[in-house]
Every structure is written in structure tokens, then in C-alpha cells.
């Protein structure tokens, strides 16, 4: 089957029910997307399909019709996405393992909600677990990213 990831088209030969997470990690070598729980609980595996955040551990390869963006395609060290910039500015990451998922969740959320209230942020970002407890800085970083995206 064919998959478009970060603008590149790939031909993969996998079972239809293999979760996208493992296609990305083991078949395509895109390891920025993380395995945390495999059961839709932690959000470490969050990627975008046509701009919408989804949990790649729950999405069967055969069911994907849109374009996939992973953390590797969101921005790069040279051209950071506004959310990544805010994440560095606020020194969010500790172990960092959950952060690909956090950043992908935040980037998609801010596409749909350009002027989020504190409550919106709390609700949208609560689906992603961080065992290191970086939440206070995630909150702050999402706010600055929103401001940045609004050209403030």
C-alpha cells in the first residue's frame, strides 16, 4: 500500500491492521513518533493526518487516506515550527519522550483554535501524558505559540 508521509510517498508491504505507529517506526525508520502505551492513553504516538492530530497506535495502516505529518515533518532544527520555538524558549522537555506527541497535539490544536483560553488549552492538552511533569511549561509554551501564530 501507499502512504504519504511528510510529503514523500512510500510503498509499504504490511498487514492492513498494522498500526501506523509501527509502520512509521519500524518500516520507514521515522522514530520521532513514540510508543508509550499502544492503547490510546498517552498520546506519545500523536501524528497529523491532513492536519488533524491522531493517535498512530490506533490507526490501522489500511484505513489511512490522507497525508501524514510526523514530528520530523513539522519543522526542522533550521526551520522550527512556532510550537517548537515556544517549546525551546520555555525549556519544556525533561526526558523529552512524550514531547513529540505533545508538540504534534499542540500544533494541530492551534490550527483549529487560534485564540485559545486557558481552559481550552488545559482540555486539549490533557489527552497527552507526561510522566516527568512538564505540564506547567507546556501550558506556558502553548500560550506563547498561540501568540506567535497570531503574529503577536
Amino acid at each position: 500500500m501507499k502512504l504519504t508521509v511528510n510529503g514523500t510517498e512510500y510503498e509499504v508491504d504490511v498487514e492492513p491492521d498494522m498500526p501506523l505507529l509501527w509502520v512509521l517506526r519500524d518500516e520507514l525508520g521515522l522514530t520521532g513518533t513514540k510508543y508509550g502505551c499502544g492503547v490510546a492513553q498517552c498520546g506519545a504516538c500523536t501524528v497529523h493526518v491532513d492536519g488533524t492530530a491522531v493517535r498512530s497506535c490506533q490507526l490501522a495502516a489500511a484505513d489511512i487516506s490522507g497525508e501524514i505529518t510526523t514530528i520530523e515533518g513539522l519543522g526542522s532544527a533550521e526551520a522550527l515550527h512556532a510550537v517548537q520555538e515556544a517549546w525551546i524558549e520555555h525549556q519544556v522537555a525533561q526526558c523529552g519522550y512524550c514531547q513529540s506527541g505533545q508538540i504534534m497535539a499542540a500544533a494541530s490544536f492551534l490550527e483549529f483554535n487560534t485564540e485559545p483560553t486557558d481552559e481550552d488549552i488545559d482540555r486539549a492538552m490533557s489527552a497527552n501524558l507526561c510522566r516527568c511533569g512538564t505540564y506547567p511549561r507546556i501550558r506556558a509554551a502553548v500560550k506563547s505559540a498561540a501568540a506567535k501564530l497570531n503574529g503577536a
Binding site: L21, T31, Y35, A77, Q84, Q91, C95, L129, R131, I138
Partner: protein, 750 residues
Amino acid sequence: MSTVGKIARRTFLIGSAAVAGGVAFGIHVVKRPIDNPLLADLAEGEAAITPYVKIDANGITLITPRADKGQGSYSVQANLIAEELDIDPATATITPGMPGPAYFNGAVLEEGVPFPAYDQSAVAEAMREFMAVPAKLFQMQMTGGSSTVPDGYVKLRMAGAVARETLKEAAAKRAGVARGDLKTQDGHVILPNGDKLAYTDLAAEASQLAPIQDVALRDPSEWRLLGKAATRRVDIPEKTTGAIKYGIDHAVEGMVHAAVRANPGIGGDVVSYDASAAEGMRGVQKVMPVAHGVAVIADNTWRAFKAVEAIEIEWGPGPYPASSPEIFETLAAAVNNEEAFDHRQRNEGDVDTSLANGEVFEATYKLPYLAHAPMEPMNVIALVEGGKVTIWTGTQIPLFIRNRAALIAGVEAENVDVHVLPMGGSFGHKLEMTHCEQAVEIAAAMQGTPVKLTWSREEDMTHDYPRPAAVAVGRGKVADGKVDTFDLSVGQSALAPSWFGRLMGMGIPGPDATITTGSWDQPFGIPNYRVTGYRAPEMVPVSSWRSVGASGNGFLHNAFLDELIHSAGADPLEERLRLCIDDTSRKVMEAVGEMSGWNGTDIGENRGRGVAFTLSFGVPCAQVIDVTNTDQGIKIDKVFVAADVGRVLDPTNIDAQLFGGVIFGLSHAMNCELTYENYAPLQNNYHQYEGMRLYQTPEFEVKVLENGPKIRGVGEPGLPPAAPALAGAIFAATGTRLREMPFNKFVDFV
């Protein structure tokens, strides 16, 4: 010259050695006496140097031997070197290096001595230094106990300073000027005429010189990187772009993927298994038994997970009581039972006489088993080939893994290489190596093929080696509105023998101080004051969990003290201050009082405020927590944190470590426990072990003080006071006393 510099030179020398095309600076083992056990297993010549800085024509490498599991230790180690070396650490390669005995961690055992951390007496200090010897013997290239900063504070700066001066000497020789006339900046030596010579260009010449030992460490007032809020963690950019490769992301040419299922009753056997369904599944190459379980080798992680699930396995019983009720009965039976007596490191006044008459207050507390559950599950790549073993994994204990792998594969330890990779969290989990043993076992059966073993979340949480469960009984008395008698008895399985048993194949003898660490060593003076540890038999095998003994004792000591203070009719902060016998600790409590505008626990209708204080890993930490009792349950509004670390090296990161520790403490206090049925924990994924989420996260105000006599790490001390401060706040808001975790058994949280 700073005194630190003098002390450092008395303790060790920084040496140098020529390496291919350049020079390395580090701990120099000058002589190698035959009977020095630290060096006994080193090959001739190998002992010469264990580098911290390596410079060649290609660039500068900083070797940061203490593992980073998310707490920013690579960064602080790199900054310690870079501060003296005059480079921008972002331009250097930073690597943990290969395990070697000269990286022994003296500080990790230091606080295992029978003196509370606030005791700076000569005897206590001598004991702490003595403890560095067993650390060497135990080959502790180990990261834990918030020890990275204390251990590296002098060594790493010295390495940077000696390297700098030696490079200057090389420049002085080449240019024919005096070393004293040279300056350094940004990886260059600056000549008097303004010309710049790159360190990389001087490295080969520097390797021919005797290292310049007579260097003074810079005064903190001159620091550019250390102690500066603007200093960034070097690892954060790659953790933000997804570029960082954790152990689980690492790949080796030609590797296959393994999954295991081991008996969920840890240590139990496999009675029989039927793998016929698994063997026919796509990508499956092999099914084989491993110790206590079965493994599948496939061509993809998911296929291996799926196939191992498809194996029907009949498990034998686990080697401990089968269920939580039985386990808690055993713990309760140990408390105040003379036969289970383990240690009593605090015994002041006359507790027995005091409790023999008058009104005695008594309360019983229960702490559950807790999984570490870092976001990255255990994983490792092992290759066994031609009498050699190579291992790639994120770990805090590379040397133990090296030795065990050698044993399993039947090779000499020097034929085992362990590459330490970045860790996606640990909280003490990566002080274990069962997954590595399994991987070497599998790789030995697949000679020449690298095997990557990944534990599923379920496998990981089931084989977590949790924090010990405990039952404690407090008995006490108050007099004249003051706490008069405090007697706390803690019953728990011993942690150190369980863990060392796995690491070294033998337990360690003697009492296990971790049963009462965080209770016996608190800086309070109470007229009759006693803390006793009772050792329950080993049940579920247990290990170190963030803040170790203090994680549970922080709650026990504070919760019981709170109840006594309440029955005395005193204020919980005022009374703690009155009882405090350590200046540094008192200032921390005063600071949290000031920050929160402390004026009692009543902060309005349906609201409540609690306070707690724990001295752990030498760091006094006080917290005030405010909650509101809403219609939907308890909402944690705000946490004030004050702590004293002696000296702040990375303020932005310390802040994060402290609130991260608090969140970890609150998460588990609110929601988490492992309960056992049929030898296995009933919780095996995050939906049954629910940490705090963003919407529950309170506001934080953090203040770090620098009055303490020693520099301290801060990865753990934020945790212990969190649960009891929350319990105190909930009591103030609702009148409900919480004596058992998790609290959600008794109250709801928003």
C-alpha cells in the same frame, strides 16, 4: 585560589593522554597498586585515564559519565566542564562514554551513612568519605540518588580547567610567549597580539605536555554558564524536533525484533507453553524460552508483540503471597514485632515511659506498591558474536549490565561493550536489567544477529520492580500545646537487598536504612522521638523509586506529625519551625511561609491549605498546597515550593526538576497503586495507573535557596513533601484525614 581547588587537588589529579590525533583529559590513575580492587580487573595500561574532555582535529567531545534520564544531567555536566574550558557546550559533542571503573560515583552512596544529612560533624563527614570506597568496590558507574551534581561539581570543572591551561601551555610553546599572557575564549587560545589558535589545532601538541595541574577554579562570581537563568539545556533542541534517538529508537544493521512475556508473578516459572499459533504468524523467525518466560523473534516490533501475545502459557506460582490483602497482612504483622526489628537510628528521650501513661494518640498508615512507569518502556539491543557481546541501551547501571552479560554469554567482562543511550525517563526503573539479561540470552541463541528487545507497556508495568508497599504505626503524645512524643514504626520489605540481589547476585547484609529514610533523619528535636524500621519478608521484588525511602517516609513522617500538631492545637508550620534544629531547613520553611503568606490552614470557605517538609538527599524542601473542595471533588489550586541546594548551577532546570518532582508525588498520591491478585499486578497500562494530567496541574511558585553547606542535586527532593502537603490541605478543606494512598479511594479529584 578557591578552597575547592585545593581540596580537589588533594583528592585526585586530572591527567592527560594522547589519543588518535589529539588529547584527552580526565581522571588520571597515576599508579596501579596490585592490591587495589578498583583496578584489579583492568588490563595493563588501560587504567591510564578515564577522559572527560577529548579534543582532536575534528572537534571537542565532552564525556558526561552520569546518565541523563531527563533531569538535565548531561547538560549540567557539560556546563561544568565548559565553564572552565571556555567553550560553548552547544558546539561540542556530548557523550556518556563507555563504562569504566574510574567513573565510579562516590556521591551515590554518601547519604547511605548513619548520619542525617544536616549533620556536618567531622565523624559524619569522615564516614561519608569512607562510603566512596564501597562505591568503587561495587563498580558504581551508577546514576541515582540525585548524586550527579555533588559528584561532578569539582571533578568536571577541574577537568575543564586543566585542559584549558594545558592547551594554553601548548600555545605558549608554539608562539614563544608566556602562558600567563594568554587568554581563552570560545574554543580558542588568544595570543597577546590578538591572534587566535583553535583548541582543535593545539590538541596534538598538548598531548605531548605534562598536564598543568596548578590551576585555580574560577570563583562563582566569574561564571558565564553555571548559575545563569539564560543557560539552556543542550539536549532540548533535539528533544523538540524529534531528532534525539532514545534506546528504543536505536537501530543496528541487520537487527531483528524480540518481544517477551515473562511470568507476571516475578520469579515464577513457565509450566508449559504452546506457540503453534505464534509460529505461523507473518514475520516470526523464532520462538524460544527465556528465564521465567517465552520470547518471540520477528522482523518488526508489532509483529513480535502480536505473536508473543498469541502464545498460550501456563504460569507457575510466584514466589510471594498471591494477593494484596495477604501482602498487607504480612506488612502489618511486621510492625512493632521484635522478631522483625531491623534498625532504630533515632531514639531520643524516653518514648516507652512517656507512652506508658496519659492519653496516647495512635494512627496507622498504608502505602501501596508503585510502578515507575517512565514513558519509554524497557528496551535493549544485544549482539553476541565471536566471543564478544555488544549492548546498546538507556541505563543507569552500565557496569552491572556488562558483568551480567559476560556471565550469561560466558565471556570475559572486557569482551562486553555497553553503549549508553538517552533514556525516555527512568524514576529508578532503569536501575534494573532484567530486559538486558533476556536480550543477551536471546542474542546468544542467534549468534551474529543483533536482537532488539522491546517490552510492551503491559510487560513493562508487570515487571516493574515497584516501590515497596508499607504499613506504619505512629504513636504519640502532646503536652501544653506542643508535640511531646513521636514514635513511628515502619514495616516494609527491605529494598537494598532485593535490588542488590538482582544486580550482583547477592543481597547486602545488615539493616536496610531505606525503610525509614525520610523519617529517622529529619531535622527536628522532639523531647521523646523514636523511629524504628521493621523488616517484612521479601514479597514482590522491589527497587528504588524516585526519592527512594523518602518517597514513602516523607508522607509517613509529615502525616503523623500533622496529626499530633493538630491534637496539640498548634499551627502546622509554626510548630515545625519550633521543633526544627537545623538552620538551613528553618530558612526553607520560613521561605515557604513567606511565599504563601502563611496564616494558618484556613484560607476560606471550602478551601484548605497544607504544609509539609522533608529533608532528603541533603536538600531541605518545604511545600504549601492550596485546594478547593468543589462540587466535583478536590481541585489543587496552587503549590509553593522552597528548597535549598547549597549552590544553584542551572536555575531554569532546577525549577523544572522541583515542580516535576512535586507533580510525580501528587500524581501517585492521588491516583496510583499496584494491587496484586494471583501474583500479578492488576494494573498494566496507564488507564489503570493514571498520573496527573494537564487540567489537574496546579499553579507553581518555586524558590531555591543557597544557604546549605554543600552542593546538592535536585531530581528527587521535590517529591516527598508533596503528598503530605496535599493530605494536609484536604484535611483543612474537608475534615477528612487521609492515612492511605492513593487518596482517590477516599476523596474525588476534579
